[in-house]
Assembly symmetry: C2
Homo-oligomer: 330 residues x 2
């Protein structure tokens, strides 16, 4: 059902292993973080979906680029994603990442800052192996992603409007997904309308992907996601459902919500209160608004896809992936 995510896995894992090889400082920690190794350095397969590099390689292939010359850029993108997660987990004091201990819980915050910094440098070095254009594209996306992360942290201290929130995720998570599609285009040497259509497709897929993440962060099942249902509420994470709830809630409920999200920042929201927030979300139809938004972006993605000069088989595989993103439970 998601051939794009399976087709390139071995190639990407090989590329990651090559980029992070050796016993130089921090390397074992980086291999642990991307899921190539466990804490003891034994090989493991916890590399996650590898969505971004798979997209790079898939798009490049559809447009006739050489997979070999494209791989370093795809690896660079995955490493930028990885670096951002290392620093993100420090910033949010998240102790778990994909069901495993976060890097900073293993080596401390100080070394984890270094580990992220090194992964950032190795990422751009990898992209530069593909081409200067690929490196430039990846750096611009990285800048946007960091700006988005900066907004995200800011929104912990004030309530963002839904529009502000969407502008934030367009940067924080959207930038790297747009970059995935664009890197595929760069590898194939496309410019003009095809390149724009790729970026637009990336934008739509990115929106759908992130909003789905937000929905799963509140209504996702424990065991599948590797984190507890409602965990985003417990940690007062300002995701789209919460931003919409703040916009819709009124009266005494609004005051209670405000109190919950603004006070006692160092104490997690307890199970009773989490239950209350979910009840309010359901009562105000927030989930269905989110699902409708996801669908709108998926439709938009499908439309953009039609305009791209992909072979029929490629187009159908991309549709498959879009469907999968809409229905996934993790």
């Amino acid at each position: 059902m998601k051939r794009i995510l399976e087709a390139y896995r071995a190639e990407i894992e090989g590329g990651l292993a090559r980029a992070l090889t050796g016993d130089a400082p921090l390397r074992p920690l980086l291999r642990y973080h991307v899921g190539l190794e466990d804490e003891q350095g034994a090989p493991t397969t916890a590399t996650g979906k590898l969505l971004r590099p798979s997209l790079v390689l898939f798009v490049a292939e559809q447009l006739g680029a050489s997979p070999k010359a494209t791989l370093p850029a795809a690896i660079g993108l995955e490493l930028i994603h990885g670096f951002s997660l290392i620093h993100d987990d420090i910033q949010d004091r998240d102790r778990r990442r994909r069901g495993r201990p976060a890097v900073w819980t293993i080596c401390g915050i100080e070394q984890a800052i270094n580990a992220g910094d090194l992964m950032h440098a190795l990422a751009i070095a990898a992209a530069l192996e593909s081409s200067p254009d690929a490196a430039g594209c990846l750096i611009r996306a990285t800048e946007e992603m960091i700006e988005g992360q900066s907004y995200d942290l800011e929104f912990e201290h004030r309530t963002a409007s839904p529009d502000e929130y969407l502008a934030m995720i367009d940067r924080k998570t959207g930038a790297l997904l747009r970059c995935a599609f664009e890197l595929g285009g760069i590898a194939a040497g496309v410019n003009g309308p095809v390149r724009s259509a790729l970026v637009d497709l990336g934008h739509a897929v990115g929106r759908a992907f992130q909003i789905k993440d937000d929905v799963l962060g509140i209504w996702g099942a424990d065991d599948v996601l590797g984190k507890a249902t409602g965990s985003d509420i417990r940690r007062r994470k300002m995701t789209l459902p919460i931003v919409l709830l703040f916009e819709r809630i009124e009266g005494a409920d609004a005051a209670r919500l405000e109190h919950l999200y603004r006070d006692a920042e160092d104490v997690e929201i307890g199970p009773t209160e989490v239950g209350w927030v979910v009840e309010k979300l359901d009562g105000l139809d927030v989930q269905s608004t989110c699902e409708a938004l996801i669908q709108r972006h998926l439709d938009e993605a499908a439309e953009r896809l039609e305009s791209l000069p992909f072979p029929d088989d490629g187009r159908s595989r991309m549709h498959e992936l879009i469907d999968y993103l809409a229905r996934r439970e993790q």
Copy 2:
């Protein structure tokens, strides 16, 4: 007495301002950090020595490269240096940087991680404007620098030997200084022996520069350096003098030193104990060993310099700078 550090100042400050322009997130913080603005955003001139970018432009000019095409790489190098200081101050919990509040004390650790990350991305983007080779050289130096920082943090938990310490500073501070000379050579398109001689010159200058820093961190005057004399002792910083002291000290003194540096990591070393450490350093001739090492590297630098195809005036300006580095009080 240090014409190299004066000749390019206006050009470099202009380049930094262009690279960090605008109101996008974190930009004002980055301009503050490099010393273009104060905390309120008013223009200021606290950009420091600008040693690294000055060296890039100087070397490029001596070898006949276009200053205009070289500037972005020089700016990139200064921004990598700046990014490393932002993260370094977080890791060391240093509240001051060049006599001003460190970035993290202004915006918090979380946003300061982002600020460093953004400056890292902008740095490579700048170098890429010069050439892919320049970007590649800068990225490799960045990787080495981060590895050095990783060793430095490790040495807070165990006593490094003098050799291990020197290997660490060759990465942590040496890498960017070697890179300064190499970027100048890359701009001029030199390869082979000239490029190697540039790297060797950078290595010697880097060693002399860092060991001088270590000496100033213990015996430097308060007002000039913007931090108190003995501040590296107070903070238990493992610099070359301390590493040498650990190697030389014996008996009860060794036990007392061990106790001072290993115990009560969260308490600063008090003035009496700082005085005792300085007394031991002086009694065991540590300062003169450091000064001799600085001189050896300065001699080596002078020797490498002779082998470079610089015009006479350029060679004499470089000698001047080497002299200045050896004698500076800050």
